[in-house]
Each structure stands twice: as structure tokens, then as C-alpha cells.
């Protein structure tokens, strides 16, 4: 058993995590999430990296198993969930591959979801915050840190403000000026036809803030 970044992990959960992982017939499996750092938890998030298509089960009713493909080890998601976890073996690592275009896809999807969900956003903004904080600080948040960051927002309006403030600054710093203009003028053109929807109006205005800022 390997414990990665144990600082926030509740010590009493370690033996139970070890028991659970030993039941799983896969070399690369690990537990992360609220089970490790919250007194009260709903699920036990178990991740298994495998090529096998066989359904893997455990006897624990709270266990929620997610299969990760080896091709996804480059993702920010994998880097985040494996940062602080209890693992059966040393986890495979691959360099992070992430682009600003991926980030824009996340924003493009998060804004309508946020406006639909209003204050029931906690599950749906994880990627938005994870990507934004990565591009802002270079730091990959683990499950505990991500949860803590999400709790700092009082309501969905604060998240919209956060997007408006952070995204133009990040794009200005990370993207070439010529490419920024080309990419966001194209996006603005798409959104313009849809400004009858609040989400696309917000995104349209955001593209303008980005191009003005760049």
C-alpha cells in the first residue's frame, strides 16, 4: 500500500482503505475523495487503471468504482485524483497534457450548466475550478483542496464573477496575442447568434473581455 500526500487523510480510514483495495483484482487501484478526509461521506471513490473490460465489484455498498483508461493518465483529472490517495501499488505517471483549448471547452460547458443548476453547482464546477486554478497558479489541486476551494464560493453568481476575473487574465498570460484574437473572434461569432440565451450571452461578453484584455 502506498499513501500519496497523506496530510489531510484521516488516519483511521487507512486500514479500511487497505482492506478494500486488497479485494480488488487489479494492480493499479486507488482510493481518493471524501472517504479519506471527511468524517461524513456518501461514497468511497475507487479508481482502477486497467485495460480489462470485466466488471469489477466489491462487497462494500458505498464503493463507487471508476475505470480509467491508460490513455487518460495524461489528463488533469487523473493528476488531481491521484495526487492525494491510498493506492495498492505505485501508480503509473505520465506527463500532464493540457491546452488552453481544452480549458475553453470546460468553460463553454460549465457556464450553461451553472446557469441551469444555479446554487446546486458543487458537482458540476469541479473541472472549471481545477483547470482555472491550474492555469492561474500552476498547482494541481487534489480532491481535498478542490473541495475546499469550491466551498469558498457562496453562490453561483460568485463563480460567474470568478470566471470573468480569472479567465481573461489567464488567456492573456498563456496564449499568443495573434492566436487569442483569431480564436476568440471566431468563438464570439458563434455565440452572437445565440445571445438570446443567458449562457451564450455571458460567453459572448467573456470573449470580448478576453480580446480587449489581450
Amino acid at each position: 500500500m502506498i499513501i500519496y500526500n497523506p496530510e489531510n487523510i484521516i488516519k483511521e480510514r487507512i486500514p479500511e482503505a487497505n482492506d478494500l483495495l486488497s479485494q480488488i483484482k487489479a494492480k493499479y487501484c486507488f482510493i481518493t475523495g471524501s472517504f479519506l478526509y471527511k468524517e461524513k461521506y456518501k461514497d468511497i471513490d475507487i479508481f482502477i487503471i486497467t485495460r480489462s473490460k470485466k466488471k469489477i465489484k466489491t462487497s462494500n455498498k458505498k464503493a463507487k468504482i471508476t475505470i480509467i483508461d491508460f490513455n487518460d493518465l495524461h489528463s488533469l483529472f487523473y493528476h488531481s485524483i491521484s495526487k492525494s490517495c491510498i493506492s495498492k501499488d505505485i501508480l503509473p505517471k505520465k506527463p500532464l497534457k493540457i491546452t488552453i483549448s481544452d480549458y475553453w471547452n470546460v468553460i463553454n460547458e460549465a457556464v450553461p450548466v451553472l446557469l441551469n443548476q444555479k446554487n446546486k453547482y458543487h458537482k458540476d464546477i469541479r473541472f472549471l475550478i481545477l483547470y482555472t486554478e491550474y492555469f492561474k497558479t500552476g498547482n494541481i489541486l487534489d480532491a481535498f483542496q478542490l473541495n475546499k476551494k469550491i466551498k469558498e464560493f457562496k453562490n453561483y453568481k460568485e463563480i460567474l464573477k470568478y470566471i470573468k476575473k480569472q479567465v481573461p487574465e489567464i488567456i492573456k498570460e498563456k496564449m499568443k496575442k495573434s492566436y487569442t484574437k483569431k480564436f476568440f473572434y471566431t468563438q464570439a461569432g458563434f455565440y452572437k447568434d445565440l445571445i438570446g440565451y443567458n449562457a451564450q450571452r455571458f460567453l459572448y461578453n467573456l470573449t470580448h473581455l478576453i480580446t480587449q484584455n489581450g
Binding site: I68, D69, N71, D72, H74, S75, L76, F77, Y78, D102, N105, N108, E109, V111, P112, V113, L115, N116, T186, Q187, F190, Y191, D193, L194, G196, Y197, N198, A199, Q200
Partner: protein, 125 residues
């Protein structure tokens, strides 16, 4: 318990268009069978809100092809709900300023597959 055929008919009735919506999803009928009348009613209400333009769509700014349409011609409406501990998603696909073409219903795995097809997701995560 909701009858899948009645469920589809009710949705067609709300949408009220000539074009035949495709109902897609792994275990579509089984999931509909698990719905209570109350949950089905919530889905019908959500569809009405989509039609009234009260629900925000996800738009994909890409010229890539999806079946006979370019992705930037489509709007995707997403509705998450749970039955017991299992989470399901509906993705309702519309051609911009035009017809509704697909109604997807499935679990997380199916949802991820459709998101990949629609270019909303590049990797599994």
C-alpha cells in the same frame, strides 16, 4: 413505473414537430421503467422549459461533422437526475433554430460516450 412507449409519445407530443426524434441510450427502456410518475413529470416539465428557451444549452463551436450536421449547428441540453443511488443524464439535441433530433438517456458511461461523439469531451476525463 413508466411505460417507455408512452414516455416517448409524451415527449413527441410536447415537442410537437414533424421530424421524428431519435430516442437513444443504453438500457433506455429499462431506465424509463424505473421512473416514477413524479420523476417522469419532472422530465416533461424540463422539456417544456427547453422549448420555452428557459434552459441554457451547451453550444459546441466546432465545424466538425456529427451525422448530417456540423457541430456548430447543434445545441445540447443536459438534464441530470437520480434514481436511488444511480445517476442518469438526459442529453437532448436540437438543430439551432430548428428541430429536435435526438433524446439520449443513459448512465454516466453512456453520457461520456455521447459527450465524446459530440466533441464535448476529448478524453474520458
Amino acid at each position: 413505473m413508466v411505460n417507455p412507449e408512452e414516455f416517448k409519445e409524451k415527449i413527441k407530443e410536447i415537442v410537437s414537430q414533424q421530424y421524428n426524434i431519435e430516442f437513444l441510450g443504453s438500457n433506455f427502456d429499462q431506465i424509463v421503467n424505473f421512473l416514477t410518475e413524479t420523476k417522469a413529470e419532472k422530465i416533461y416539465q424540463w422539456i417544456s422549459k427547453v422549448i420555452e428557451r428557459e434552459t441554457q444549452p451547451i453550444f459546441i463551436g466546432s465545424k466538425k461533422q456529427y451525422k448530417e450536421w456540423a457541430l456548430n449547428q447543434l445545441l445540447v441540453f443536459r438534464h441530470p437526475f437520480s434514481i436511488g443511488k444511480t445517476e442518469y443524464r438526459i442529453l437532448f439535441v436540437k438543430v439551432k433554430d430548428s428541430i429536435y433530433i435526438e433524446f439520449h438517456l443513459g448512465d454516466h458511461k453512456y453520457y461520456d460516450k455521447v459527450r465524446k461523439d459530440l466533441n464535448l469531451k476529448k478524453t474520458s476525463y
